[in-house]
Amino acid sequence: MPFHTWLPYAHPAAPAHISGIMSGVLIKIGIFGILRMILLIKTDYTTIGYIILTLSVVSGLYGVMLAIMQHNLKKLLAYHSIENIGIIGIGIGIGCIGLGANNPIVASLGFAGALLHTLNHALFKSLLFYTAGNVYQATHTLDIEKLGGLVKKMPQTAILFLIAAIAICGIPPFNGFISEFIIYNALYYWTQDAMMLSLLACIFSVLGLVLIGGLAMLCFTKAFGVVFLGNARHEFSHPIKEVSVFQLLPLYLIAFFIVFIGLMPQLFLNLLIQPVSLFTNISQVNFMPFQGKELEALQPISWAAWGLIAFIVLVLLLKKVLAKKRTLASDLTWGCAYTAPTAKMQYTASSFVRSYSKLFKFFLLLPKKEKEVQGIFPINANYESHPYDKIEKWLIDKPLHAFKSFLGRFLFFQNGKLQFYILYGILFILLIIYIPLIYQNIIAFIELLKQL
């Protein structure tokens, strides 16, 4: 968690397809490393589990809290990667605790949730980065305050972004829900035979997970609403058009998998049996995961998801049939009878999250520059804010700054004069020669003193 600060800088700098691979594969190497180490070391799994769980809940919450404040679309997504790694970590933590408590059901559910969420995150996050790349290609900017109304210009990109956004919030009928559901299940199985302290840990991870979900919803309604909906907030000098079909094709493939996992989770659960049994068999219990009762719920979930989609289609058809007989008109958006609205009057990304940012002021760092409106005939007023990371400031920037200023005291060595550098070389050689000699003399002197 305190080592997350590189990610939000790396993502906006990388081109979109690289960002997709970065969040899909690259940052999963950390998860792979943790899992590999768990297989290698045979030790006190309970303690490890608690440590992983605590760090994960904190990084999940902190990641999404910062994500909400971001104005740069890719930076926002980068902070969401931190959050999702947190969710994966919660799964791994619970799995370890299950191993430590010799509870194979909890262990298998925890690891299964973590592994499935790893796959899911790779899918929806890369889809989000690719669509962000499409937006960048079309508009040449990633500042969400300048975007808006893209759904009319780039409808396919908008739909793909929407699918991924719903999936990342863990909302059914897409794949994010399945893995979060498995993790919730693990938590509830854990409560059954847990005692006081672990119950507290459990209830706070439930709280953390629910809050992460809610905050993610706030964040992605903001991102989708501001980037794709409403009116354009900025006049671009070039025409904005949808990217080519070949660019969209791989995106549809990813979207297909997102929907597929959401609707057919059982298939993927069968794939998970082998890797998960690797973990559950550590403690010499021969346990095949998912044979019992613990995950038979996935069948009705997929039915419910199908039912939901069928019902939505049904109501839409009904609406279409009814609409044929009625008159449909289109007009301006209702602005309380004000008839000349401009795009500037729309809710911006910052105003959408303003009450949130006031509430969470304590955790956030939001330096702002403002010039207030004054007088009866006000001249230009402005307001600027740049979200920053409190942990980055106190744990990375300040120590680095202190270290730098300490090293700065020795700057006079590097004065650029060749003579001095030669002198340093000679001094170094002399020191190498004389220090052992002096040392020997000192030893001899001490020996002498001892003999006296």
Binding site: T191, M195, A304, F311, I312, S351
Partner: protein, 301 residues
């Protein structure tokens, strides 16, 4: 199946009773109890005006909102009889499917490009985020108490025996009533009958909806009320035979509607900036329930 019929019946008269109570309390004659349903039928028959700014999102959002609420309704049990959809952990699905509806109603509001609707959307997103932990902790505590994770099993094995569990049921009722008020944007949180757009949450989000869409949104609201009422009733009727249980269902639904009407008549809306604190208080009340469950199970050392 039984619960589905009962909830649909209750949703028909629930909002009407609230409005009737309010009109009696303020000394007006007021509309009949079935007026809200008549309104919805009238809306279904109307045409629609769509804003130039909107896209397909605005068109499908009310439908998905309605579908999500109906889906949630199918999961609510009634005493011993299961809901149409029932599985282990269905309350998680319940909460998340409602979140799907909220997601779409929020982006539907953002789609109009109106500053008012953006304001409502922002508030809705924030408040629903704070309300969700309370529900999860509440249901989680009951799951811990009964050892089951589906609505029907939790409610049918929930015995109200000792004094402590009476206290728990009372607290749970309080939390569920307040959640129903938040979910439906009713009085202490949001005033549905205010005249100023700046002070609304839910109503301001649907300013641009009309005709069929508005009908869907309104009827989803009525159903939501009945769903939460049914959940509260389920706390108490675990083992009671059906003939009493059904009577109790209607009595409690009517009582809840009347009390909501009375609350709305005599209490002012909270300050918007303090709403979040109030909503988060619900989570601490649910934590209280959680500790109560721990005491019953003897897990506190």
């Amino acid at each position: 199946m039984l619960s589905l019929i009962l909830i649909v019946l209750a949703s028909i008269f629930f909002t009407g009773i609230i409005i009737r109570t309010k009109s009696i309390a303020s000394g007006r004659k007021g509309p009949g109890i079935l007026q809200p349903i008549k309104d919805v039928i009238r809306l279904f028959k109307k045409g629609a005006v769509y804003s130039n700014t909107t896209s397909f999102v605005f068109q499908i959002a009310p439908t998905i909102y309605f579908a999500s609420v109906v889906m949630a309704m199918l999961m609510v049990p009634f005493g011993q009889s299961k809901g149409l959809i029932s599985f282990n952990g269905d309350f998680i699905f319940f909460a998340y499917v409602l979140a799907l509806g909220k997601f779409f109603s929020i982006i539907g509001a953002m789609d109009t490009g109106s500053s008012f609707e953006g304001m409502g959307a922002s508030r809705e997103a924030l408040y629903s985020m704070f309300a969700e932990p309370a529900f999860f902790v509440l249901m989680g505590s009951f799951a811990l108490l009964t050892g089951h994770t589906s609505f029907q099993e939790i409610f049918s094995t929930l015995h109200i025996g000792s004094y402590l569990s009476y206290a728990l049921a009372t607290l749970a009722t309080f939390v569920l009533v307040m959640l129903a008020m938040i979910e439906n944007s009713r009085m202490p949180i949001d005033d549905p009958k205010t005249h100023l757009e700046l002070t609304m949450i839910h109503e301001v989000m649907i300013l641009d909806n009309c005709g069929f869409d508005l009908g869907l949104i309104l009827s989803a609201g009525y159903i939501k009320f009945a769903i939460y009422g049914a959940l509260i009733i389920n706390l108490f009727i675990g083992m009671v035979p059906y003939e009493y249980a059904i009577a109790a269902f209607f009595v409690i639904q009517i009582l809840m509607a009347i009390s909501i009407g009375l609350i709305e008549s005599f209490i002012a809306r909270f300050r918007m900036s303090h709403n979040t604190q109030f909503i988060f208080t619900l989570t601490s009340v649910s934590l209280l329930i959680f500790f109560g469950v721990l005491m019953i199970l003897g897990k506190i050392v």
